[in-house]
Structure formats: C-alpha cells, structure tokens
Symmetry: C5
Subunit: 394 residues, 5 copies
Amino acid sequence: MSPFHRVQEPSAPRIYSFDQPGSVPGTLHIRADAAPPRLILIDYQAQQAIRRQLDQAQDCAPYLDSESVSWIDVQGLGSAETLQQLGQVFQLHSLVLEDVVNVPQRPKVENYGDHLLVVTQMSTLTTVTVAGQPPSRQTAAGAIHPGLEIEQVSFILGKNYLLTVQEEPLHDCFAPVRDRIHYARGMIRQQGADYLLYALIDALIDGFFPILEAYGEEIEALEDEVIEHPTPQTLARIHQIKRDLLTLRRAIWPQRELLSTLTRDNCDQISKEVQLYLRDCYDHAIQVLDMVETYRELAASLMDVYLSAVSNRMNEVMKTLTVISTIFIPLTFIAGIYGMNFNPQASPWNMPELNWYWGYPLVWSAMIAIALSLISFFWLRGWFSDFSRVHRGR
Amino acid sequence: MSPFHRVQEPSAPRIYSFDQPGSVPGTLHIRADAAPPRLILIDYQAQQAIRRQLDQAQDCAPYLDSESVSWIDVQGLGSAETLQQLGQVFQLHSLVLEDVVNVPQRPKVENYGDHLLVVTQMSTLTTVTVAGQPPSRQTAAGAIHPGLEIEQVSFILGKNYLLTVQEEPLHDCFAPVRDRIHYARGMIRQQGADYLLYALIDALIDGFFPILEAYGEEIEALEDEVIEHPTPQTLARIHQIKRDLLTLRRAIWPQRELLSTLTRDNCDQISKEVQLYLRDCYDHAIQVLDMVETYRELAASLMDVYLSAVSNRMNEVMKTLTVISTIFIPLTFIAGIYGMNFNPQASPWNMPELNWYWGYPLVWSAMIAIALSLISFFWLRGWFSDFSRVHRGR
Amino acid sequence: MSPFHRVQEPSAPRIYSFDQPGSVPGTLHIRADAAPPRLILIDYQAQQAIRRQLDQAQDCAPYLDSESVSWIDVQGLGSAETLQQLGQVFQLHSLVLEDVVNVPQRPKVENYGDHLLVVTQMSTLTTVTVAGQPPSRQTAAGAIHPGLEIEQVSFILGKNYLLTVQEEPLHDCFAPVRDRIHYARGMIRQQGADYLLYALIDALIDGFFPILEAYGEEIEALEDEVIEHPTPQTLARIHQIKRDLLTLRRAIWPQRELLSTLTRDNCDQISKEVQLYLRDCYDHAIQVLDMVETYRELAASLMDVYLSAVSNRMNEVMKTLTVISTIFIPLTFIAGIYGMNFNPQASPWNMPELNWYWGYPLVWSAMIAIALSLISFFWLRGWFSDFSRVHRGR
Amino acid sequence: MSPFHRVQEPSAPRIYSFDQPGSVPGTLHIRADAAPPRLILIDYQAQQAIRRQLDQAQDCAPYLDSESVSWIDVQGLGSAETLQQLGQVFQLHSLVLEDVVNVPQRPKVENYGDHLLVVTQMSTLTTVTVAGQPPSRQTAAGAIHPGLEIEQVSFILGKNYLLTVQEEPLHDCFAPVRDRIHYARGMIRQQGADYLLYALIDALIDGFFPILEAYGEEIEALEDEVIEHPTPQTLARIHQIKRDLLTLRRAIWPQRELLSTLTRDNCDQISKEVQLYLRDCYDHAIQVLDMVETYRELAASLMDVYLSAVSNRMNEVMKTLTVISTIFIPLTFIAGIYGMNFNPQASPWNMPELNWYWGYPLVWSAMIAIALSLISFFWLRGWFSDFSRVHRGR
Amino acid sequence: MSPFHRVQEPSAPRIYSFDQPGSVPGTLHIRADAAPPRLILIDYQAQQAIRRQLDQAQDCAPYLDSESVSWIDVQGLGSAETLQQLGQVFQLHSLVLEDVVNVPQRPKVENYGDHLLVVTQMSTLTTVTVAGQPPSRQTAAGAIHPGLEIEQVSFILGKNYLLTVQEEPLHDCFAPVRDRIHYARGMIRQQGADYLLYALIDALIDGFFPILEAYGEEIEALEDEVIEHPTPQTLARIHQIKRDLLTLRRAIWPQRELLSTLTRDNCDQISKEVQLYLRDCYDHAIQVLDMVETYRELAASLMDVYLSAVSNRMNEVMKTLTVISTIFIPLTFIAGIYGMNFNPQASPWNMPELNWYWGYPLVWSAMIAIALSLISFFWLRGWFSDFSRVHRGR
C-alpha cells in the first residue's frame, strides 16, 4: 500500500485522549470509526520464521512459552472485547491497557517488572490541497503540499515476545522489518525480542526523515514565493507549516526522552548490545529534533519576510498612485482655471489670457514644465528605481 | 447541575489572594459574596457507604476515629466561624487554614507530619458572548466562545479522612467520584483515603481536557476566520484566548510540580500503589501542559497571521484605488484641457484642435489608448490577479 | 501618612548604586537630597514594649545587651556621620555599611557570622498623569495611571536585635507591624528578633500585591481601549507598563532567591519555626513573580494588538477614501468629457451628443449605472461591512 | 586550491542523512555524484615523515603496527568497496562505518574501547550572487554575498594511527597541518596521534572564524542599506543570513559539546597534555558560538528595522501625495465652480461673479489664500521636515 | 587624559581574535596599528611604594623575588619581541601568551599552578555623531550619542607579583588604584598581590556603570522621541543601542562566570579575605548584567513602539487626505456636471437647470449640504479627534 494518500482538509493538532473526568481508571474508549483489529503473529528463531493471522487473542498463548521470539502485531482498535482478551493473555495492568487503547497518549516508557511498556508515535506523510486555490502558475510551491498524520504505536516487551498495537492497519512502517525476518536479512533472526523492539522503533524514527525532507522542500518553495509574489495562500501555508512542525515536535520530543531512558537505565528486558543500537536510534531522534527546530525558526522568519514583502508591494502600489496623481493633479487644476467662464468683456482683469495670442501654447508649456520638474523630483528621490526592476510574471 | 453557564464579560486573570500588608499571619478573609459553607460527609468502607449533610463542623468528629474512610467536603467559604471550627476539629496549623480559606493560592503540597495539605485549582468551562457582536454570518467562529473559570480546591489528607474545601458549590467535578463510592464502581471502596485523594485529583486534572478541546476548536475556527475575513472582533478573540491560555498555564504548571512531588517523595499518608496511580495522573498533567503550550504557540502565530491578513486586505484596497485613479486621472486631465476657453479667434495657436474635423474622435482615441496602455501596465505587474480570486461572501 | 502620592513624570528604571570606579571599597555616598536619618527604637518583650526616638546612634547601645528584642529603625540616609556611628555600634563590616548606605543594591542575603545582612526592595504605588493628555472621554483607562517607586530596605539581624535601614521616612510599610507590637496582636511579643525580621519582610512582600492589582486593572482598561479607540497615549501607556513590570521583576526576582536561601540554609540567627513562616513568605514571593510574568506576557500581547488595531483603522480609512474616490472619479471624467469645447459646427463628429434630444438624461443614466455597478462591486467584496458596525463614540 | 568558489543558488539547510526506514543497520549509501576516494598516508616520527598516496585500503596495514604515527586521510566517499575495506583493516563496528559514510551526521564523539570516533563538521565560505540583481550602486552590500557550505569530517583515533574521512577532496583545511608535519614546525612531530587529532580539529574550528568575519561584514553592510535604501533584495539577504547562521549554529553547537566531552572525560586515547590543548580549542568553539548568537540577534533586529524602514518610506510617499492632493483638490473645485454654465441671463442669482469687474482676480486671491493656509497647516504638523533631509542618491 | 573621545563611525561588534586556521599554537599576532608597549612597574609594601617606567622586560626580574608586591603594567601590544621577553621572565605557557597578546579573547580564568591567568574586558564610553544628522531641535536625544569601546585587559597573578596587559595606553581605568597605592589610601598597601588583583577588577567592573547610565539616559530620551516625533535616525539609534547592549552583554556575561569561579574555587593565589571582596565584585557584575538585560528588553519594546508610532503617523496622514478628498471629490463632480456643454436649445431635457432662476444657489446649497453631512460623518467616526490634540512643534 502506498504511504501517500490524499486528505481534503489539513488536520488540526489532535488533543490527547482523555477519560470522562471522574470515571473509573482503566475504562477503554472504542471509537465508532476505528478499524476492527487484525492480529498477525510472527514467530521466528534463527532457523525458521512462521507468519499467521490469528482469529482471536487466545490463539497466541501457545507461542508465548516457546523459546522462539513471538511478535504479535495488533492493527486496529475497533473491538473492546479483543483488546481485553489480549490484556488477559498478556496479564497487562489496567493502566497499561488504557494507555495502549485510548489513543493518543504522550510517548513514554514504563517498566512493569515482567514487561516493559513503550508508547510511541508514528508520522505519516499525506498531501493536502489548499481549498479554492487553482493549480495556477502563481504558486511556485505548487498546489499540492505536504500534510501530516500522527498515529500511536505501542510496544509491550516481555521475555520472549513483543506485542505491538497500531491504530490503523493502513500506514504500516513495519513492512521492511517483516521482510528482514522473512528473508533473514541482517542478524535479526539471531537476536531476541529486544532487538526486534529496536528494529521497529528505528524504522519508526527513520520514518520522520522523509517527512522532514518534504517540509524542507516546501519551505524552500515558500521562500521563493514569499519574495517573488506573496499571496494570502502563502500566508495560510506558512501558518500550516508552523502548526505541523509544532505537532511533529510534540511527537518527537518525548520519544527522544524515551530513548534516552531506554539507553541509560538498566532494564532487564534489554541487553547491553541492543542498548548500543538504541543509542544510534537516539542520535537519530536528536537529528529529527534538530531539523524540526531549524525548520521552525525558518518558518518564523518566513512570516516576518511575508509581512515585509506585503509592505514592500504596498509601497510600490503607493508610489505608482503618487507619481500619477501628483503629476496630473496640478495640471488638471490649470486646465480647470482656463475652463472658468469669467466674462472677459465685463472687465479687462477677467481672464485676459484667453485672448492672448500665445495663451494656449503658454499654458501647455507651463504644464509640461511642471510635469517635468515633478518627474525629476521623483527621479531624485529614487522612486522610479522600482519600476526599472525586472518583474518576472507578477 | 450543568457544567456550563453564561457570563457576560470575560474575566481578567485573577490575582492571588493576599493579606493586608503587615497583618497578623493566619487572618481569614471572607468575601461578602461567598456562598455559606455546606458540609457533606461521606463515610465508607468495603461493605457500606453513608452520606450525610452536616450542620456544623463538630458533627464530623465521631467519624474521624473509626476505621472507615471519612470524606468531608466543604462547599463554600462564606462563614469564618464554621471554617475556624473545622480548623479546630482537624487541628490545622493557622497557615494551613489561611491557605485553604484565602483563595486563590498557588497550587502546592505541604507535609505537616500528621496531615498533608494539597492546594489545587479546578477549571470550569463557561461561555462568553463578545459585546456588540451580532450573531451574523461574518463570524465563522460563531458568536459564542469558550471562557474560563478557575477555582481553588484544597485537600487535607489525614490517616482515615480526607477534607476537601471548594470555593463554590456549583461547579462540582466530584459528582462522578461520589457515584463511584455510592454504587461501589471500581475498587474505590476497597481503598483508603489516599486513593480517594487520587480519584479526586484525577477527576480535577481530567477536567482540563474538555476545556482544552473547546479552545482547540475555537483556535481552528479562528484560523479560518483570520485568513478569510479578519475583523476587529477576531483580534479581540485571539487576545482573549492568549489570556485564557496564560491563566490555564498558571493553574496547571504548579499542579504538575505538585504531582511530581507526590509521586517522588515518600509521604507516609500515600501508599506505593496509589503513587503508581498518581504517576498516571502526573502524565495527564504533562499532557495538559503540552496542549496548552501548543495552543499558545498557535495563538501567537495567529496574531502574526492576523496582522499580515490585514495588510493584505489593505493592499487589495490600495490596488483598487490605484487602478481606478491612475486610469481616470490622466483622462480627466485631457478632458479638462479641451474644456478651456481660450479664444480660437484671438490667435491661430489658441486651441485649433477644437475646430478640427476629426478633433473629438481623435481625443477619444487618445484617451482609449492611454487607458489600455495603463491597464496593460497593471496587468503585467499582476495587480489584477487578486480580483480574479474567488471572494467567498466577503 | 497616605501610601499614595503624586509624581509628575514616570521615573525611568533606576540604575544600581555604584562607586566611582577605582575608589576605596567602603566609601559611603550621601545624596544631597537624602532626608536626615531618624532613629526609632522599639524594645519589647512579652510583658511590655518601649518606643523611643533616639538622638544619636550611641543611644541604642544599652538596649542591645538586654534580653528583650530591640528593633532600631533608621529612616533616611542623609548623614554619613550617623551611619558610620551605627556601623561602629553594631560592629558592621565596611562592605555591609556600603551595601546598606549606597542604595540601591541588588537584594541579597549575606551571613557575617554574628549578624545576618538582608538587603530587600520595597515598592510603593504612585500615580502618574501622562503629559498633555486631557481627562477626556477618549481614554477609557482614565487620565490617572499607576506608577511605581522602588526603595531599598536593609535588615541586619543580630542575637537580640534587628537593625532596619530605610531610604525615606515617607513610604512606611512597617506601621502595621509596629501596631502589632504595641497592641500585642498575634504572637509577635512572644517571639524573638528573627520573627520580627519575618514579620517585616512579609509586610514588604505583601506590599507588592496591591501594586500588582493596580497594574492588573490598568491592563484590563487598556485591553478595552486598544480595541475600541487606540491613541498614541495608549501606546505610551503600554510601553510604560512594560517598563514598570520589568522594574518589578528586577526587584522581586532576587528577593525570591533570598527567601529561598533563608528557608533552605541553616543560619544560627533564624529558628526552625520562623523558617516555616518564611516558607509561607517565599510562596508569596513566587506568587508575585507569577503575576508579574503573566502581566508581562499580557502587555507584550497588547502591543501586538495595538499594532493590529492601528492597521485595522487605517484599513477602514482607506476603504472610505477608496469607495468615494472610485465612484466619483469616473463620473467626473464623464462630466469633463462633455465640458470640452469642441466645435460641433466644425464637423458632424465633434460632440454631436451635445445636441441630441436625450443627451443629458442619457449621460445621467450612464453615470448612475456606473455608480451602482461600482457600489455593488464593493458590496460583494464586503467593504461596507465595516460601516454597518456599531461605532461607540469613536 | 582556492578556498573560495562560486555557486549559483544559495543552498538550503541540508537534512541529516537517513536510511530507508526499516532497512538493515549498517547499510552504506554512496551518492552518485560522490568523488572516488583518494587515500593519502602520512607516517611520521620525530626524525622523519613519509607521505604516500595509497592505491587501496589494505596498503596502510603495515604502517599501523609501527611505533610511528600514521595518518590515513580518505578524501571522497565515492566507492563502497574501498570504504568497506577500510572498515575491515581498522576493524570498525558497522555503526561506525555507517556514521562515517552516510553523511551528514550530527557531530558527536563515541568511544569504542580500542578506537575513538569523532564526527565533526567543517564549514567553507562560498559566494553567492543573488539572482536578478544588477551590480548597481544601489546595493551598498555589493552584489556578491557570503554563502556557506558544510561538510562532514570524521576522525577515528587508534593507538598509533588517525584515520580521517572527508566528503570532498576540494575543501581542504588540513593543508597547513600537513606542512607543519612536513617541515617539522612546532612540536607536532614530537607528539602522538592524539596531538594530531587536536591539531586537525583546531584547524577545523578556526576555519569558522573567517566565515563569521565575512558574515559580520555583510551584516554591517546591510545595516547601512536597510536604513538608507531598503529593497526587496535586502529582505532576501537578511533571510538568507538568518538561514546560514542557523546552519552554522547547528554545526558548531554539537561540536562544542563534543569538545567538552573530550576535555572532561578520561579517554585512554588522549593524554593529559593534549587535553589542555583541546581546552583551548573548546574556548574557540565557545567564541564561535558567541559570535553566531550575536549575529543572529543582530539579524533578527535588522528584520525589524527593515519593516520599520519600509513603513517610513511609505509614510514619506503618503505625505507627498497628501500634500499635493490636499492643496490642489480644493483649488480644482473652485475652478470647477466657475466653469459651470449657469445662464447669468436667466436670473441675477446665476453666477453673477462671472461678470464682476474683479471676479477673476478675486478667485485667484482666494485660491492662493487657501493654498497658503494649507501649506502652513502642513508646516506646523512638521510634514515638510522629511523633505529637507539630505537624500543621498536615493 | 579624558575618558571621552570622539569617533566618527559606530564600531561594529568586534570578532574574537583567531589564528590562521591550521597555524602552530602559540603564534603571536601583532597588529600594525598597535601602540608600542610601555612597561610601568609599581613595587610597594606597607612602608613605601616605588614607581618606575621600565625600558625592557628583563628589568623587572629583580623585583619579582623580593617580599614586596610588584605590579608590572604593560600598556600596548605593539612589539612581539618585548612580549616574548615578558613570557620568558614570567615563565608563561605559550597558550597563556597567545591569550594575552591575540586580543580580544573571551574573558576566562585559568589556573596554571604557579600563576593564575585572568582575561577580562574593559569598556570605555565614547561618543558618536550619527552621520548626516543636523544638531536640530527635532532630535530630543541630541546629536551626540553614547558609543562603546571594548578592550581586553589580562591579569597574571603570581606569588608576589601581578602582571597586567592592556591593549591601549589611553583608556586607563587603573589610575585611581595607582593613586591609592601612591597615597596609601585604604588598606591596599597592607595587602598582597591578590588584593591588588581585586582592586583592579573592581575598578574595571565598576567602569561599566557610568556607561550603563549613559545608555539609560539615551533610552529615556529615545522613549520620548519615539512617541513624539519618530524619524529614521531614531530607528538607526535604537538598532545601534541594541547592538551595543549585545556587545556589553557579550563582555560582562563571561566576567560574571569568571568572578563566580574565583570566589567559589580554591586557588592558592587568592586568600579567603580577598575572596570576600571578590564576592562583592561578583554582586556588581550581576548588577551590570541585570541592567543590561533590562535595557535590552526596553530597547526591544522601543522598536515595537517605533513601528506602532510610524503606523500612527501614517494613519493621521491618511485621515487628512481622506477628509479633504472625500469632501471635495463629490463637489467637484457636481461642478463638473454643470460645466457640461449640452445644448439646452436642442431639447428641453438638456440641462434645463442652467436656466432656472434659483439654479446656481440650489447647486451651492446642495454642495454645502453634502459637505456638512460628510463632515458630520467623519466627526461621528472620531476622525477629527487627532487634529484637536496638541502638536508640540511637530
């Protein structure tokens, strides 16, 4: 399935999941539109790997006792019954089940002695089309822009097993890891469940990079657009990018903490060697954060540039108006003067110019002189410099 | 009672309660409009639960010695006498009573050996109608906006009892917990007073989420409004949201510290198991803070967008003026020229054009040529691009 | 004496006192306008309290040896001689005397073994009238605004005595404490000099609250004003408030540190019980800081709102101009056309319209049609929406 | 080779290198345009120094065992095979090789027991020509502006050897160090591989200073330009500088951390004496950071100044328009009045002025009076003050 | 010599001194315009003090071994030879000499066992005249503004000696200390070299205060100017002040750290008693930082105020234009109507008004009615309120 899909409206920052205030702790919320859960079991050891889709939670029980590594992947949160059965099979604390099911939660790691709960967030790149914007040549950034979807993935790491719970079956960043197990690529088949946890988190963190790349390109396109031909859509896009980067930071920041905890603390479930790999993964999380912060600062600066560019354009418009107006207003006044109907016969003082031999040419000369002096006044002030610039299709 | 009620004016950030400088420590301030205190006792153990409304503070004394958990809930701070009696019954330090009565105080936890004082703040969602704003189609965000009320709730946790003191009886987020005790839902009846403390604080913290949700929706509505048709009311709303978020942060930030202290430190009054639950509550407080900070950044960005959008609109207005003016001003000048009354008979140089056979059509041709060249000049500069955009009901 | 007095000009942030660079440490600076020092001795124990005004510093020596608590309050820094005598009587280090006399210093606490130096800053509310602003109906915030004065108060705590040094005798926040000693209110007469130190610092910190309240009201008034009818005075007021809040923060921030040190460290001079009271005082200092930060953010947001509001008003002015101009400019052009004097007799092409039977009514019809189409154009753009708003007395 | 070269377009902030999400850790990415690696070996001790270009990675193996210091410098990342051979010769962990080859990584130091990995970033100054900007006299900052290139340099320090890996052979800041070895300048020949590491990092950090100098000069030029004659290009330049400084900070900040780690921690590979030198290098990194932060603040302030300067110029343009318009509009109205064709013979009330003896001179007097009073009105408002300023070639 | 001198151009922030990247550590850079070094020796003990100007560095050797305190003050960095001789006499590490000579370095303290290196920065107040600004009455802040020069002063403290190295002989803040030694003021003659170090650093830190005072006054003057009559020069001044305050902060911040290190750590070279004095000096450094931060915030707020004030003035200009234009444009249109030459004889519909008995007075009445209704419209909108304000000489 393609990792890109279309959404019509940019999604607002999702609020964290919360209970009805005062409700009993451990209550599960099943959303009406949640997909029914699919349970996929992969059981492997160095020599072989089995993959099965399970019908119900109890079916995975026999695999848990064996020496081989069992990975139970739950995709979809649509059935409270199945999820509670899972809780019983894996003997999960009611607070653990709540954190896994009531999405989204803030990423965190918690050690419950016999199992380790890791709550993470996965990002998926989507594309948004800004409403009412024609795919015209005006928008250098194009009519299709990057969008963002954040989804919770929970891990429960036990002795020989790893339980993963994903919100939706569609956005699956685990496929390459499944292939590595299936084709025995790398050393994943030689390692335990903790290495599998690492491999999956690593895939998840690395999934942020292509998204950042898309935002980087968008920012670059906006940088050109904002200087060349800022439009109200540009403004909306900058604000949207700031919002998405805020969402990304909110997702990645606690994951950085989480990875720091995993590499620093001694958990029985994670071996020294895998901690070394997780440290590499932690470095990647810091790199993601670094990029997010860089882009945030660039987007903030872009907003300033936008405001200045709009002022600049207004300045240019004002100058055009001023130049035309101030040249013609005095001339029109003069023309108005000699359009007056004072009766020259009533008095020699009444508009004798009208009967002068050179009257009309003199008036023209005066008007041309006034126009030229005003033009040179503006020229000296440098107001024409803008007009001489090359205007590229604006 | 409905948790929503109407207020006419957005409330300003309330200042912390303070003594008349130099007054004796422990002085109680009873506000004139404070509700008279209602004392509600709930005494429960696994098998049964009693609920009684007490007439005076001394009535609760017999319950305190029993093994069952006694919850005394004081609603309203209107009587200094009753409150001082409570202080005597529970043997509270004068500074404790001051913190409980002189609201609001900054949330904090203090350990007095035999009892633990926890001061918290509860938020209630209200709705505000912005003055002078008709419920017209102009305001996408609607004429009813979220408002905020913050109220102090103090907890005094002793061996077998919990004393809670609320400012007002109306906004009661404790009702669901009372029901859980009454109907023995969950394991609350099996647990001690410390679990009750947790259950109440949890209800209080979770009460912030619906409020955040309302603000999130308001921000989203404003995001559309600010790009589509910014008005001065939009500006007032953004500022109001920033103020409310500031108030929320001021309420939740010290509660996060407080919960951190409760889960980290060893208090005799709180068992290990309840600390686990409080840690979950602490996670929720962090989530609230996360959301508040996210919304604060969005609101700040909205203010920038607003300023830019207003500049954009002014730009558009300027362009209209400039286009019309600069086209007609030269034409009017030409018309003025030939409205002059120079006497053609006085000289062959005096406006001979007036007597030309093609004079009038020539002038029209000149004027049309000027108009077309100006229009094409503006076209090349892209000044008409704005007019071709779809204007949705602006 | 009233705690409020008038000053004509808002005072700029006062720079810290400094020596002529390179001068001998311990040099005292006596300002020319400093009030001559008044020495007031209050000597009390549980049974009785004496109050005397001393003529010279040596007079307090006999009281220092007694078991009773001696409070020597020095008001005014106008005499180097008296201050040096005090230094000798109390055996103060030259750096201590310098800190006490050369005001203002940054608040701090320093332990000199046998005595403890506490330097604090007291704030006094003043009122300022903004120059050139008539007390007209334009200013919702009124013509009288809160102002701020900061003054140093130093404490030197010894075994049985407390020496306090105030800059000016006028702003006295210690009067209520004197009354408590005199009338034996509370338990102050039962306690030692350390409790007196607490009582005075508590009065001093609580003195910040009414000031904050005044600023809170001013900000609220400005919030209305800035949306309704922003004027340049509004701008000056916002800047003034930001400056005052900066000054307040500079005063309260080090006092928070100072109180933290007093409650945390073990000083021989301060008993465990008084430390409990000082912790309460520390909470108040944090509350003051909280309020100051909140107001600072509000003031910063107000500045943004101001800028936007001014842009809004300019937009409105521009629209009025544009609407009137763009309607009448084409019409005037048409009128100008038919004001031309082309000779209809010279050619049938020369303005035959002038002789048409329906010429004049046709021109009127054309002009009305043009005006109506322009008006409907503006209507569709929503430019009239602003005019339909209620303008309250602007 | 000259350290300056031309690029046509300012480069956007480069994203950190990342794996295809889910791929096997340790995968090497070889970019198509990467230069083929050149291996240069320098083997030296106090008495002599050898320099050889190696054909393949295995050739350096014999030098590693000797007592002399072996520096293997790899320039270019174009061949996966060669790089994997290097990994085998030096027995590098697969994650190390990944960090060295998949550029750029965030600077860091990692200790792998027998060797130490140091990843750093080198900056190179380039020049950019802003598109479409003629090298006219308008741009005080000139048409050639500083640009920035960041490139990764990795160091692997073993017992007697140092392996350095550079992205490109062109930008070589190591030449002076090679000369110091060749000509035995300073004490480099007497020292071990750790001193060589210091010498190279020192050269790399010092390489930031000339770049900062170029940016400092650019900012200074822009400061003049922004006040004197701001253009849209100025805006683009300020944004570009902010972006470059952000990139610089992103490069230098982790290097500061890295140097702090090297000087603080005990690594077996680095002697106490060399740590002293590294501390000096750490000071330089802090100085670079200091300058970057200073320039960032200046650039942010410049953006504000730009916006204000544009507003100022618009103000000036507006005043010109207003002065001319408001003087001539009333005059033109008066001229229009007496251009009306009311028939004086139809009524004595119809424009009798036209037949007055002094009619025409009276109208002129009235118009001159109006013009003078308007001019003096503007004069009193100070609107002419701007025109009297010296306009230097604007 | 006067501590004030004139410079023509405000100096840009000086970059830290740096080596040619890759050069041998310890290389000395002698600038061409550096003054030749003057060596002044002051050797003192309680009874006597000697002052001599030395010809060469070796001359001070005999004084170093005696029990008396020897202060060698080097003014000017113009001779590499003399400085290297000094390095030999005092046995300085090559990195020490580099830090002392290659100015400026970031202030720091480093302990080399037998001697202590302290690098500090001294500030000098200069005055700048802004180019092209006449000393007119327009600038309330006056035409002379404070400027800033920062200069490095290095201290090397040994057992009985103190070596100080200053960049330039002119700006000497050490003169008062020399006088204190000469005239035996205070207790400096009784103390060791560590007290001398304190006395000099104290003089240096206190030298920041008069500079801050000058900037405080400048900010105050600008506060008035920015509200009353903002000019482009005002903008340039605000930016200049922000730049200078940035430079000041960059100078004082590391000196605060440095003093904190000196008072906290145990250096053999500094006695407990002098540490007490240094703590006082540390307090002063914090006060300087406090003031710098306060002024920085004020300057940032001033920039906002400036922008708003410029918008305000544009608003005022716009209103004038709008009022005049919108009143006269309709009137001119009406006059234009009756200036048309439709032939009344061709048709009874052609402008019969021209022949009406009351035609001309009716037109005048209509025009006056229109003007009055427009004026009252503007009056209701409050657009005249600005004109009624007192304009003080603008």
